[in-house]
């Protein structure tokens, strides 16, 4: 955004250093950060976990815990440019005056940033009254007005509703309304769409764009998602280990990244369409007669219902789904929250009961499933869970955990006897043998997910179910885990059900993609078919909502998406 008129700087951070006092001594979170945010522009701060991006952004509002030590200057200028001051030394009421008025914040989790026991209007008005004198009526009118402008239907009525009566996307709109009502010069949005579905994310991004264009607010956008950056940002700062490694306008950064870290980060982002070639190569390698082989998993009109308690209606999680997975085939299951994708994975593993229809897993019928008869089948199935932190018993070493399947199925007498095999497995997932003696919390997220893969593959299963295995990981870590998954699959030839909310990730690995929407399978086909020429309107919407890491391409897609919305 280059305009001739001089833009005034709303946020001017210079030589910011932030450190935290911890038990292990002082830890530097941010070192030597210098940044400017101009009025009316969107500055994205990008980085992976631990990069210091949130700490930097929070320092603008003085919202750091007591253990933080801040040096440097954060000069905040009010929207009309009349007043500017350094926030770092501010305390008490002087700091409160700045908060909300000059800079406001939008948080990651809309569900936790609204107080559950007060109506949303009350919470908006509270901010107003903290910064100025309003009569009851004026304040209410202003709140209704802002709710309408962020796209809440029937604001006159809904102003008195409580947070739990809104959906996740609406809650985030209300949080944004809370920020907008005070007409701040800059809005700090901390991962504002990370907790939301892709289709909702697109809406919120559009709203944030309007915050800039219609309300004239500058936005500091903190995110790890390069697609979101490409969609919304004007300027980008890339942070790595507490420092800014590169700062550029959005086009330059995506087209000609200079810093090696930025290059690596961009390379790690999965892109739509990347998988087409890959899928073709895999198909070419298949042996004759593959298509006729008996499927490993076959679902026919599968229906899974969670019974409602206390006269509440039942919840139909999976509603008449049919699909099959052949030996050695990778099926990617895509859907948003509540689509039933995880439920299907769990049903295949015998963790959730089938209500109706048929589900054949390695020849065993899961409708009317009995744990005892299914147990022998279990050794032919591996499962990788979403959260690598939670899927290991904190009291067992990694080696013990990986040895569990071997011991349970009597391949080894105990953990010690299984150790040679465990070491082999750890090596296969590219973890040093010595990691076997560590406890889960001593590993990073990516390392734990590798160990989880090792455990799933311990018995050389014919079928692997991976439920969002990389959604809790940083992009660069995700890329390496996906690569490993792909290599192992090629080598061991297991069939896999790969569950994800991310179309691009699924596209990278899967032979076939199935799209779930509200418990129904709306589209199924190869990556080229589903992503290239989606037939179902939901798939089209899903695809259009997905921001791609390329500003120009994303601008084009946005127009398409806007057209679809009509």
């Amino acid at each position: 955004m280059t305009t001739a008129e001089p833009m005034n700087t709303v946020v001017d951070i210079s030589d910011l250093e932030i450190s935290f006092a911890t038990d292990a001594g002082t830890v530097d979170a941010v070192t030597g950060v210098t940044l400017q945010v101009q009025a009316g522009e969107v500055l994205a701060i990008v980085g992976e976990s631990g990069s210091g991006k949130t700490v930097t952004a929070r320092s603008i509002l003085g919202l750091l815990p007591e253990t933080a030590r801040v040096r440097g200057a954060v000069v905040l200028t009010s929207k009309d440019g009349s007043d500017s001051q350094d926030v770092v030394p501010l305390r008490g009421s002087a700091l409160r005056e700045v908060r909300g008025h000059d800079a406001a914040m939008v948080f990651q989790e809309p569900s936790t940033s609204l107080n559950p026991v007060y109506p949303v209007g009350w919470q908006i008005i509270e901010g107003l009254r903290a910064h100025g004198k309003y009569s009851r009526k004026e304040a209410r009118e202003k709140a209704i007005d802002v709710l309408r402008r962020v796209g809440i239907p029937d604001p006159e009525e809904r102003i008195d509703h409580y947070p739990h009566q809104f959906s996740g996307g609406q809650k985030q709109r209300i949080v944004i309304a809370q920020a907008l009502v005070l007409d701040p010069g800059v809005i700090i949005a901390d991962e504002p769409t990370t907790a939301l579905d892709v289709t909702v994310q697109a809406e919120i991004l559009e709203l944030l764009r309007r915050c800039r264009d219609d309300f004239g607010a500058a936005i500091v956008l903190i995110t790890h998602n390069m697609g979101v950056v490409a969609d919304l940002a004007d300027q980008v700062a890339v942070m790595y280990q507490g420092e800014i490694v590169e700062q550029a306008d959005v086009r330059t950064l995506f087209s000609a990244p200079k810093d090696p870290y930025t290059q690596q980060l961009l390379a790690a982002v999965p892109r739509l369409g990347q998988g087409v070639e890959h899928t073709r190569a895999r198909a070419a390698r298949r042996a004759e007669g593959w298509a006729e082989a008996a499927p490993v998993v076959e679902a026919r009109d599968l229906r899974i219902v969670y019974p409602g308690r206390l006269r509440k209606p039942d919840f139909v999680a999976v509603d008449g789904v049919s699909f099959s997975i052949r030996p050695g085939e990778v099926l990617g299951l895509v859907g948003e929250s509540g689509s039933g994708k995880t439920t299907i994975g769990r049903a295949i593993a015998g963790l959730t009961k089938v209500t109706d229809g048929s589900l054949q897993v390695l020849g065993a019928e899961m409708n009317g499933f009995k744990e005892r008869t299914f147990r022998p089948v279990r050794e032919r199935i591996g499962f990788v869970f979403q959260d690598p932190a939670a899927s290991f018993n904190p009291l067992l070493t990694i080696a013990d955990a990986v040895a569990e399947p071997l011991v349970v199925h009597k391949r080894a007498k105990d953990g010690g006897a299984a150790r040679p095999r465990v070491d082999e497995l750890l090596e296969a997932v590219q973890l040093p043998r010595a990691f076997g003696d560590r406890y889960p919390h001593e590993l990073s997220g990516g390392q734990r997910q590798r160990a989880s893969l090792a455990r799933a593959l311990a018995l050389q299963p014919e079928l692997l179910i991976a439920d969002e295995p990389t959604s809790a990981l940083d992009v660069s870590v995700q890329a390496r885990v996906l690569e490993l998954f792909d290599e192992l699959q090629k080598e061991l030839g297991f069939a896999a059900l790969f569950i994800s909310h991310d179309l691009a990730v699924v596209d990278l690995l899967a032979d076939k993609i199935a799209v779930l929407y509200r418990g129904q399978l709306v589209e199924e086909g190869t990556g080229a078919e589903v992503l290239g020429a989606p037939k179902h309107p939901y798939t089209q919407r899903l695809l259009a909502s997905l921001p791609v890491p390329d500003p120009d391409e994303q601008a084009r897609r946005r127009t398409e998406w806007n057209a679809l919305r009509e």
């Binding site: 976990s49 279990r378 869970f385 979403q386 904190p394 399947p405």
Partner: protein, 356 residues
């Protein structure tokens, strides 16, 4: 990616090498800082004195607990503190200091029996009930909730009547008091362990054991039990305090242990009730202070353990970004909701939480 919490969860981090330094209490002592450490140390000191006195009571006490006379004749009733009787004598003619010292033994014996009995019964029931669910679970929950809601003291009285008919020998009295306390405590352990079991049952690591094909017995023993009982040390301490208070309450109402069978503070306080109006203070103050200090010590230890285990309550390290409600031990001694967060720190040593 959004890493919400790097909270080091030391109490929930039994990982690392297992040495004496990771033993409960020792571990917490090392983790604690500032005032929190002060409270823990004060509690440990008071509890230590209590244990020491109980173990060495025969050496410390100048007289037997039921001694009424020595070579110089009877002690006399309600005698002022003097060189012979440092804390005076009671209305019944016993030496106050001796009875206070011997009283620690009775209290300790009751605590040990009561807590052991209720611990095992409660843990087993809670584990099985929480893990398998079903109608048995539902019935047990309703029963335990009903008992839990009822005044512990009244129930103890009823049980004490059943066991001893109100009059007790030493062993009978201790057992009566201990069992009556047990009945009240079982629901507490049951609730805590069951809640933890239900929570842990749905954790990914238990599901992953199920997917592997591990049997229920193996899952319960290897994966659920040890994780579910992590909160117990602190409930244990809180129940110890309650055991002392209940024992004293029973004694005060005349359902405790007879003075000739053992020294018991609640009984002595009951006897001294009438003394107060005539201004005789030494018969009541000392047994009362003994109760207060013992309970204070044990409760301080329990509270500190609770704080260190709960990320919301632990000191500064978790300041501001601990995960939302884990579980808390309410004053009655039972844990509401789930216990410890299993949240492990992500990359070791990182404070990346703040850069979520």
């Amino acid at each position: 990616m959004a890493t919400a919490t790097p909270t080091p969860t030391p109490a929930a981090a039994p990982g690392g090498r297992r040495t004496w330094r990771t033993l409960p209490v020792v571990l917490q002592l090392r983790q604690s800082v500032g005032l929190q450490r002060g409270m823990l140390v004060a509690g440990l000191v008071l509890t230590g004195i209590f244990l020491f006195t109980a173990i060495f009571a025969p050496l410390l006490a100048p007289y037997e607990f039921d001694q009424l006379r020595d070579a110089n004749g009877p002690f006399g009733a309600q005698a002022h503190p003097s060189s012979n009787h440092l804390l005076g004598t009671t209305v019944g003619g016993y030496d106050v200091l001796s009875r206070v010292i011997w009283g620690t033994r009775t209290a300790l014996a009751v605590i040990v029996v009561a807590v052991l009995l209720s611990f095992f019964a409660g843990v087993l029931l809670g584990l099985v009930s929480g893990y398998f669910g079903g109608w048995l679970d539902r019935v047990l929950v309703v029963v335990c909730d009903a008992i839990y809601a009822f005044p512990a003291l009244l129930l103890s009285i009823v049980v004490a009547i059943v066991i001893s008919g109100g009059q007790s020998s030493l062993l009978g009295g201790i057992l009566a008091a201990a069992i009556s306390i047990t009945v009240v405590f079982i629901p507490q352990y049951f609730r805590v362990v069951r809640a933890e079991t239900v929570r842990i049952k749905s954790e990914a690591f238990v599901e992953s054991a199920r997917v592997i094909g591990a049997s229920n017995g193996r899952i319960m023993a290897r994966h659920v039990l040890r994780n579910a009982t992590r909160t117990l040390p602190l409930i244990l301490t809180l129940n110890c305090s309650e055991a002392i208070l209940t024992l004293a309450g029973l004694g005060f109402l005349g359902f405790g242990i007879q003075p000739t069978a053992a020294a018991e503070w609640g009984y002595d306080l009951k006897q001294s009730l009438a003394d107060v109006s005539s201004g005789i203070w030494w018969t009541s103050i000392f047994p009362g202070v003994a109760i207060v200090l013992t309970v204070l010590g044990i409760t301080l230890v329990g509270e500190s353990l609770n704080d260190l285990a709960d990320p919301r309550l632990r000191g500064r390290r978790a300041a501001g970004d601990g995960p939302p409600p884990a579980g808390t031990v309410e004053p009655g001694g039972a844990v509401v909701g789930s216990g410890l967060a299993t949240g492990m720190p992500d990359a070791p040593g990182a404070i990346e939480g703040y850069s979520a």
